[in-house]
């Protein structure tokens, strides 16, 4: 602690340079954390997946339907606890840019299969009773300022066009912050009733829960064998594998985010490293005096590293505080364009770790230079 005053005095030696370096550090770290949050939002599916849930899709592609008649056959397979089905709707609310996912659901089994998405009982009962009823996720309802009782019109894009009118009867919330609260659900019966004959009796995919998660592989195999060599063969996989495959399709986005993040990291390293190198070079003779009067090589290295770590820590904390304040604002502004952006404590800790690593790395080279400099040569530079 008796050296703290020396470190602080050196840190505050050039206040404008310190301010600019801290600013650069804070902005870069904010950007780094923001990119990490975006990346996490895209890859979160596999993390939040239910361990006991399986997804059954058409083996050809997820856009190919599966007959509704499969439901009972799947439900009879030993180990299946409950099953529901969904269809992608793809309607437009007012304008194409107002995108949010809309699903046709099976009201009878939805809540058993997705227990983490909570709908109050009275709202759920109203939904079941109203054929045109819809339940919206809390984020989507907040985004468009919807309240229960509102009339929601959607324009269909894939089922022959036309306007669909709905009554908002409920709003669901996720149990966990990372649960998707952007969906809109409406009833299978209303959908089926308005479908042209060619589309009737087909679902987009099935989602089921198994009795024991350890049994998932056997159940998935049994389902696919059941429909092998049929006109609509199935592909069954765990929810986490399904989510992981989904993310793989976003591979280029992930690569882009990781690339930008890496560039930001190295820019951070160069900015801080440059500041420290200049700062140490300016003080060569002072550091030589420290050594002349008896400070060891390691003490000189410690002074330089302590200074670069202090810059990293202060700049890092400013960057992380900015992230804490701004990411919820950005998440709201980007609602519908990106999955929910969540800044977790783990991410904050990782940000702090990155800051400290950058601080350490940027101070190391100038510090080693100062440590190994010859006092006689350094004093001659005065």
């Amino acid at each position: 602690m008796k050296f703290a005053r020396i470190i602080l005095a050196n840190l505050l030696r050039k206040k404008i340079r310190l301010f600019l370096t801290l600013g650069s550090f804070a902005v870069a770290l904010f950007l780094f954390v923001f990119l990490a949050v975006v990346r996490d939002a895209f890859t979160r599916g596999a993390d939040v997946a239910g361990a006991d849930r399986l997804w059954v899709i058409n083996r050809t592609s997820i856009i190919n339907p599966i007959p509704l008649s499969y439901r009972d056959k799947i439900a009879r397979i030993p180990g299946v606890k409950c099953i529901t089905h969904d269809n992608w709707f793809g309607g437009i609310y007012q304008d194409e840019k107002n995108f949010f996912p809309q699903f046709v659901i099976d009201p009878e089994n939805q809540r058993q299969v997705f227990p983490e998405l909570i709908v109050p009982d009275d709202q759920w009962n109203a939904f079941v009773k109203d054929r045109q009823g819809v339940i919206a996720g809390a984020r989507t309802a907040e985004r468009f300022g919807w309240k229960i009782g509102d009339r929601i019109p959607l324009k269909s894009t894939i089922y022959g066009g036309g306007a669909w009118e709905f009554n908002l009867v409920g709003i669901y919330h996720g149990k966990r912050p990372q649960d998707d609260e952007t969906q809109l659900w409406f009833q299978w019966d209303y959908y089926e009733e308005r479908m042209v004959q060619a589309y009737k009796g087909n679902v987009g995919w099935y989602v089921l829960r198994v009795e024991k998660p350890d049994d998932s592989v056997r159940v998935a195999k049994a389902i696919d064998e059941e429909f092998a060599n049929s006109a609509n063969e199935t592909k069954t996989e765990t929810e986490s594998a399904f989510a992981a495959n989904w993310v793989k399709q976003l591979g280029n986005i992930q690569f882009l985010i990781v690339s930008i993040g890496t560039i930001v990291f190295f820019t951070l390293l160069l900015v801080t490293g440059n500041t420290m190198a200049i700062s140490v070079r300016e003080r060569t003779s002072e550091l030589a005096v420290f050594k002349a009067i008896g400070f060891s090589d390691r003490a000189v290295l410690f002074f330089v590293l302590a200074e670069s770590l202090a810059i990293a820590l202060i700049g890092g904390v400013i960057g992380l505080l900015s992230a804490l304040l701004l990411i919820p604002v950005l998440a709201k502004a980007l609602s519908g364009l990106l999955p929910n952006l969540i800044l977790s404590p783990t991410m904050l800790a990782s940000g702090l770790l990155v800051a400290l690593l950058v601080g350490l790395a940027s101070g190391l080279l100038p510090g080693l230079g100062a440590m190994h400099m010859r006092v006689v040569n350094a004093l001659r530079r005065v």
């Binding site: 008796k2 050296f3 005053r5 020396i6 005095a9 050196n10 505050l12 030696r13 003779s285 002072e286 005096v289 420290f290 050594k291 002349a292 009067i293 008896g294 400070f295 060891s296 090589d297 010859r374 006092v375 006689v376 004093l379 005065v382």
Partner: protein, 247 residues
């Protein structure tokens, strides 16, 4: 009495024997010091004079453990420093040497008090003990009232006095002064030399000083001349003044 012929006894505080220092510049070998012998008793005030490039500062750096000789040995208060490791030499410097540089070399972001306190941060002294030592050292150089000033707020002479306080605060075995008045006007130089004389006379410090200035050198008890790497005894201060060689 200082001796340069290697005839000094074991009682000498500083004993230098057969000291060579060679530099290589490209393919050229430059002999800066050649077979130098020196014996300095405790409490002596020795001035080294000589033309530029004669090896004065090199000798001072070697005596202060800032540089290592090519050949020969230096013994200070019974410790042979020529074969010490870099780490041990650093510890030795902290205990035995006080440096006074021509350009003061104070840390500009620290106050006079904090600059003087620096060597004490390497000791186990408490904060109160450090304060007491620093105030005493600043008192010796007459700067108690300037202890909270930064170097930029002090005159050149005052800065050099702070440097002297920093050099003496840990009570080192000897002081090495490299052109201590080289950057000062005559009045300030005189003040600084008076302090150094008091350190020798009243506090029995051993001082080795390099200077170009015969007036300053005349304040020392012995003057040695370095020329082409060889040390020769010069005229004593009283002889210099007596001969009217100095103003």
């Amino acid at each position: 009495m200082v001796k340069v012929d290697g005839s000094g006894g074991q009682s000498s505080l500083i004993q230098v024997r057969d000291l060579d220092k060679t530099y290589r510049r490209g393919g050229e070998v430059i002999d800066v010091l050649q077979g130098l012998n020196l014996d300095v008793e405790a409490g002596e005030f020795v001035a080294f004079m000589g033309p530029s490039g004669s090896g004065k500062s090199t000798l001072l750096n070697l005596l202060g453990g800032l540089d290592v000789p090519t050949r020969g040995r230096i013994t200070v208060a019974g410790d042979e420093i020529t074969h010490m490791s870099s780490g041990r030499l650093t510890e030795w410097r902290a205990r035995h040497v006080g440096f006074i540089f021509q350009m003061y070399n104070l840390i500009p972001v620290l106050t006079a008090f904090q600059n003087v306190e620096l060597p004490l941060l390497l000791t186990k002294l408490s904060k109160a003990e450090r304060r007491s030592h620093v105030e005493t050292a600043l008192g010796v150089v007459g700067l108690t009232d300037r202890m909270h000033h930064f170097p930029r707020q002090l005159s050149g002479g005052q800065e050099q006095r702070v440097t002297i306080a920093r050099a003496i605060v840990s009570d080192p075995t000897f002081l090495l002064c490299d052109e201590p008045t080289g950057d000062l006007d005559r009045k300030s130089a005189d003040d600084v030399m008076t302090i150094i004389e008091e350190l020798v006379g009243r506090h029995h410090k051993t001082v080795l000083m390099v200077t170009h200035d015969p007036v300053v050198a005349a304040r020392a008890s012995s003057i040695l001349h370095l020329d082409k790497g060889v040390l020769v005894e010069g005229k004593h201060a009283s002889q210099l003044t007596g001969a009217g060689g100095v103003a």
